[in-house]
């Protein structure tokens, strides 16, 4: 009874805390400007099934794809086991699904065990790639101490959870062989039966081990759940809605700014009366709250894998720009804005902005708008949109484009071409062979 009460208290506290922190992220995302991403629901579901559920963009890197697939499937399937653990914990039962499911239960537990082993192997491989092989993708200016530790913590926690799960099963299996009390036979335990021989033989010790691992496993999972809102690992939740709300247009199509359309129309036709769109908005993006909620959702979805940065032509050739940094800066800044809101209220201004305090001009102007980063992202994050919006702010609000680009603007405006040629000479190519 006491164990059940403790379990219910821990479970309740974990769920409460997680809901609170996830709610904060939701609030932060909704600080962004509105954008409609609800059109073509059929295509959106299809894209989500393919890209998020089906992991279609992961396959470009086969080793990472296979390892990630193990962890991904393991995470989803082993959650069925967590459901049983929850019920057992609340009602004080033991392996509550084993009687009603019969032989199927043994099969399920067997598949969980195989998956747990694969997850374990994948996590070890991932740790080696990060810390021993030191893949270039996992370093870079933005990969400071915390992002690197975050990745290692996630992998270590998963290794611990899987180890506890398998050890628990091994002790259970051994108790089943002893026909001890309620430890009824529940399948063949294809992985943990190999661990069983190295465990102590006494029933008391085995029960201690089984219970200890059971508690460690479930408290570990609940603690991990509460680690998510502070971690890049939040992608396991946001990847799905983030892909659902993807930009469905061709990548080359940039948004046309409606606020500019009104002004240009008024300029070209003095009789044009624009619709009143209320508060005149800032042109482009200076701080995170000028971004759309989708940009902000993408920032929280980013798991810092670095595929974007590793294919960025500017980054490859040693420029300061890193698309991953754009996303991480955006996330860190909106988190800061949210924290300020909680601490100091609505009217507080910390005199900081995404542009300049986080992202420098040099980064913005190094982009070739080639869309390689957008193409590479396994969950359809678009760093290019943020870069473009910040360029818009620099150009239209501050007139702070590099001088050579200002020259180009002048030529386009006056000569109808980005170079200093006369429009009257535009057909000269037809005459000189």
């Amino acid at each position: 009874m006491i164990a059940q009460a403790i379990f219910i208290i821990i479970l309740g506290a974990a769920i409460y805390l997680f809901t609170k922190n996830a709610g904060k992220i939701r609030r932060n995302i909704l600080l962004g400007k509105d954008v409609d991403r609800t059109d073509q629901p059929a295509l959106r579901w299809k894209t989500m099934a393919k890209v998020a559920l089906g992991q279609s963009k992961m396959v470009k890197r086969p080793v990472a794809a296979v390892m990630h697939f193990f962890i991904y499937v393991g995470f989803i399937i082993i959650n069925l086991e967590v459901l049983e653990i929850m019920i057992d914990g609340v009602f004080g039962s033991h392996r509550v699904f084993s009687a009603p499911l019969g032989n199927l239960y043994g099969l399920l537990i067997g598949s969980f065990e195989v998956l747990a082993l694969l997850v374990l192997i994948a996590c070890v491989v991932f740790l080696c790639r990060r810390n021993i092989v030191r893949l270039k993708r996992f370093s870079g200016t933005e990969m400071t101490q915390w992002p690197k530790s975050d990745a290692n913590y996630i992998l270590c926690i998963e290794i611990l959870l899987m180890t506890a799960f398998l050890t628990m099963n091994a002790a259970d299996y051994k108790l089943q062989l002893l026909h001890f009390e309620h430890y009824v036979k529940a399948g063949s335990f294809p992985v943990s039966s190999f661990i069983a021989p190295i465990l102590p033989g006494g029933a008391r010790a085995l029960i201690m081990l089984e219970r200890g691992c059971w508690w460690f496993h479930i408290i570990g999972i609940l603690a991990f759940l509460n680690y998510l809102p502070y971690s890049k690992h939040f992608h396991i939740l946001l990847a799905f809605p983030n892909v659902y709300y993807s930009n469905l247009n061709p990548k080359g199509k940039f948004t046309n700014m409606a606020s500019v359309t009104n002004e240009v129309k008024a300029m070209l036709d003095p009789s044009f009366v624009p619709e009143n769109t209320g508060e005149p908005a800032r042109f482009g993006v200076k701080d995170v709250t000028d971004l759309t909620w989708k940009n902000l959702m993408e920032a929280y979805t980013c798991t810092e894998c670095g595929r974007c940065t590793s294919v960025c032509p500017a980054n490859i050739t040693g420029k300061l720009l890193s698309p991953r940094k754009i996303m991480m800066d955006t996330r860190d800044r909106i988190t800061e804005v949210g924290n300020n809101l909680d601490k100091h209220g609505k009217d507080y201004d910390d005199a900081k902005t995404l542009l300049d305090n986080y992202i420098t001009r040099e980064e913005l102007w190094a982009c070739t708008s080639c869309n390689a980063c957008v193409e590479a992202c396994p969950v359809n994050i678009n760093p290019l949109e943020i870069i473009t919006e910040m360029r818009r702010y620099a150009v239209m609000e501050e007139s702070q484009a590099p001088a050579s680009l200002n020259n180009m603007f002048g030529n386009v405006e006056n000569n109808g071409a980005p170079w200093k040629y006369s429009q009257a000479d535009r057909l000269n190519w037809a005459n000189n062979e």
Binding site: G252, F254, V395, F409, V412, P418, D425, R426, W429
Partner: protein, 262 residues
Amino acid sequence: MDLKIPTMAELAAEGKEPEILFWVGCAGSFDERAQKITRDICKILQHVGISYAVLGTEESCTGDPAKRAGNEFLFQMMAMNNIAVLDGYNIKKIVTGCPHCFNTIKNEYPGLGGNYEVIHHSQLIQQLIDEGKLKAEGGESFKGKKITFHDPCYLGRGNSVYEAPRAALEILDAELVEMKRCRSSGLCCGAGGGQMFKEPEAGRKDINIERIEDVIESKAQVVASACPFCMTMLTDGVKHQNKEQEIKVLDIAEITVRANGL
């Protein structure tokens, strides 16, 4: 081939409307190398007998470089003026010689009221090959030559056009080789996003040099492209590596014209 370049104004004066407008673009109008490609596209159009015209001095920048560099005002100003000109001539179908013009008119003009069927010259060439109107005979032989294709970002990733330019090369009986970074993983030439008009930021090397290393690695004798900006960047890259003798940079339109002896 004796080239006759009809302009929209001339045709309109005769009360005629061409089947398709050839949108030349700024590079195609003014850059010496790109001018040659422009004439080659006209040769192809004339060769297959499509009725076409150009805007000539009535054409202006689409606004693409301004838009990518953040100057949305200038872009929309250019776009609305161009739409007025295009609609004034009742234009329905456009072929462009530049992926940037193609992308802008196709994707970004509709939101400002300009609705046209827009194709890139690689798609036109593919269509003509498919219809049997364009072959690779009567001209220079590319047989056995190693040719690789550099995907322009705004044609490939930007609009998912990967096969059309390759169709123009597959007909040649040449050996088509791919670079390690190709199609959706293709590496940018370094000119997009306004970079064509400014010095690059400080770094280890220029992007076109990085790209030319891919070309060299592929052992291709010809690197084909379909964008005037890529053309400039790749040509500069080849020069920088002193490979002008070994590697030729050609637009798919030039290759088509050569293969057909136009």
